[in-house]
Amino acid sequence: MSSSARYSEASLGAAEAPLGAAELERRLEELVGAVLSSRRSATGLARGLAEQTRPLQDFVLRWTAVTAKSSPELAYQYAGLAARAVGELGYAGAERWLMTAIDVYDREGLYRASAELKDLAAFVGRAREGAWGVSFGKVAGVLGIFLAGLAGRRLQLAPADSAWTDTATLFLPHRITLFASRAENFRVYKVSAALLWAQTRFGTFALASAQYPQAPHELELLNLLETLRLAVRIEHDLPGLYRDLEALSRPALGAEFRAARERLRAPGATVADSLAALGRLPASARAPDWPFLGTLDPARALAVRQERVARDKQALRAALQRWSDERGEEGLPPPDGESLEGGAAAPEEVKRLVESLLQDLGDLPEDCLLPAGEGAYPARAQQAGAAADGADDREDGGALRYDEWDHRRGHYRKDWCALRERDVHAGDPAFVEAALERYRPQIRQLRRSFEALRGEDRRLRGEPYGEDVDLDALVRGHAELAAGGELGERLFVRRARHERDMVALFMVDMSGSTKGWINDCERHALVLLCEALEVLGDRYAIYGFSGLTRKRCEVYRVKRFDEPYDHAVRERIAGIQALDYTRMGAAIRHLSGILARQPARTRLLLTLSDGKPDDFSDGYRGEYGIEDTRQALIEARRAGIHPFCITIDREASDYLPHMYGAANYTVVADVARLPTRLAELYRRLTR
């Protein structure tokens, strides 16, 4: 049976008794008598309809009457097909199907209209695909936020053939077209996604790989049993979601599952209980065809988890080693299990890793509490870096040297990075024109909201209200009073908003990872930003950054502080490309230097990047890079600059608060929104 038939059944709670065949025949004859004859009676129609519920009968009669006013023939045909149409499409859908046919009748006559009616299957197909089907792309945004709310962190979502999870990513179907309404189809997505989250949250993959069944049919049943178990967890905290799940659990569960369901209702039931219940199911048991049930792939889930555990373990051991060294310097004993559980003094990094491991394993294994040497980052990358290091030595003329922070040593590496300023080559001016065209309404709105920020620093004299008496006005007023006039009201001085004495430098990621879509969005964002800033009058500059190893850090001039926003700047914005790596520290140091030389009360450094700092030499990838970037930002702050970082990060980004400082960054999860967000962020930062 199709799912939409289930939908209609569910919504039909017939209270009134159905009409009998004789009564139906009488009514139909009244409606479509004109097209009946001795060879064509309403008896067959009435008989078929007599088996349906009363609301459905009423529905068919009502619309037959409506149609008969246009064409009794069409009405007759409709009466014959309507019950099936409701079954396939639901009431609203069947109504739309009929309306389409009547429209065709009005335009093209009976022949085409009756063809339209008879081709119910085609209409159902189109309707599901187009009108009521819901696609992954449409729901991913909302579901992503929904799941972040449930889980407390961003979960990765991806489309796939069926709903399943490998514990790192939740996979959801490309499209859902089971039901005749968007809302219902979305509900299936929502329940599927929530169940996948519940699988990772409530330990569906907590056992060893060998304990899970292999046969697809057994996995299917285990998936069902797990769903029953997780539903109980959901019922307690999320009753609304549970009701959705219940409503979609049609057809009802067979009697063979009753015992298992009862057992899994016990508080604290685990996946082991589901497995035990699986063993007790009769061999004939088949999982019902519930729309939200996906598939279970414990083998892949465990492999992914194992990889993550191994990575976390190694990182934890390395972190413990560093912590132990630090404690050693302070004369403290090395950390042990107890100091970890006490927790308060442990570095953020250790806590995070412990938390991640606890979630995966439920318990901290002994072997990861042994501090170990370095090695959290792949050695391969470092070797590649060493080779590149040598090759670049000879190019080192005329570069500026910058220190780099080595967190492992707790010291700077002196003059470690060589940085050059370069020009961006002019790009296609049509790009900017197109952007201006495309975002015209947004630009108009941004300009308006920026106008509101424009400061004027004036002492307004002769005001009716203000912080000081306007002596001139008062003297004049007294003179008038003496002359027999009246003392006016405008006797005060008021100071209007002070001027925005502010400069801003935008630092844009030109690393290879921004290639394509992100790069386009960055460039659009800059165009919008410039348009808005021109209204405001703040002085600003734009620089790009990229680099390949410490010998070749590069900063690209897009717009200097002393340059107007003109044709050349626009072409350079268009010319921003995705280049190499992201060695952020050196770029921040160089650009904060430029910014610090600008005379202004407030200096703002905004970085726009797409995630972790990354370069393949010196292990800049990962922690070293994060720490160096963090240090460079701290230096900037010391120099009286306000840094603010904007990240387009598609991954869970738990290192961001550490790297950027908790209050000084924002994540733009949806790249498409960057263009409008950037200018808006600037406005909010500086209002």
Partner: protein
């Protein structure tokens, strides 16, 4: 004359009934100790977590009048200290709320101090250190605060505006009390008590709030505050359907973005 006015003033500013406040981690004792030792207090925390209510409660507890000023970006030093007005050809000095609070020995609460203009902080500096004095520049007068006077300011560190950071020279004059949303059980009790909903509904509201707080940084600037929950609870207690109440009082209050609203409503419909 002025004395009588002040007395009437003080009576009007005194709190008659105890404002409900649920102490969480010794902040009441801390505030009392600070008051006794004439140390000003800085209350830090997100919006709607109970800072203002706490000050009201403390004012009641200590039996002091309370002068609250909600700071805004046009609030100047003379708005706080006072100004000359011209009436019938004469200039008359009128005390601002800060001057009044000092004269009364009240608790002066400057809510969201960073919203005010920079020059206001200069006025509070001498009040906030051991001088405890208010300089009324325009009158050439120095007011010394009586021992009962106390200055409390609040500040929301979550605001991401470089212009709204509290200067070190200001913040280092204060004892800071950190506020956050209460733990789930306590928050549910507060919501139930303030709004009149039953315990189960209050717990569901708090669960919803936690989910929205999870979204801080991924689309929301702040999660739902306790205050929002109380609003939603009041609507529910009045017979509004929980989903409708939460959509109006929580989802729409938090965001204008369509996608975010859709997701928030899905969370609402999951919890209720």
């Amino acid at each position: 004359m002025a004395g009588i006015e002040l007395a009437a003033d003080a009576a009007a500013l005194r709190l008659e009934r105890e404002p409900y406040y649920c102490p969480l981690h010794g902040e009441v004792e801390l505030f009392e100790a600070a008051w006794r030792n004439r140390v000003p207090v800085l209350l830090k925390g997100p919006t709607g977590c109970g800072k203002t209510r706490f000050v009201e409660h403390m004012a009641w507890r200590l039996g002091r009048p309370l002068v609250t000023v909600s700071c805004h970006d046009d609030l100047t030093a003379s708005d706080l200290a006072g100004r000359y007005l011209v009436t019938a050809g004469e200039t008359v000095w009128v005390d601002g709320p800060m001057t009044r609070a000092v004269r009364l020995g009240a608790i002066l609460y400057l809510d969201e101090i960073v919203e005010a203009r920079k020059d206001t902080t200069v006025v509070i500096h001498p009040l906030a250190d051991d001088r405890r004095a208010l300089f009324l520049e325009k009158r050439g007068e120095v007011l010394h605060a009586p021992p009962e006077f106390m200055l409390a300011i609040s500040y929301n560190p979550g605001y991401q505006s470089v212009l709204k950071e509290l200067k070190q020279s200001t913040r280092q004059r204060f004892v800071a009390i950190d506020f956050d949303y209460p733990v789930a059980e306590a928050e549910a009790a507060i919501v139930a008590r303030e709004s009149g909903v039953d315990a189960a509904t209050a717990q569901a509201l708090v669960r919803l709030a936690h989910m929205t707080r999870n979204l801080k940084g991924s689309g929301l600037d702040e999660g739902a505050s306790t205050r929002l929950l109380v609003h939603a609870g009041k609507l529910i207690a009045q017979g509004v359907a929980p989903r409708t109440a939460c959509e109006a009082a929580v989802a729409l209050a938090l965001s204008d973005e369509r996608e975010m609203l859709a997701a928030l409503n899905e969370l609402v419909s999951s919890v209720f």
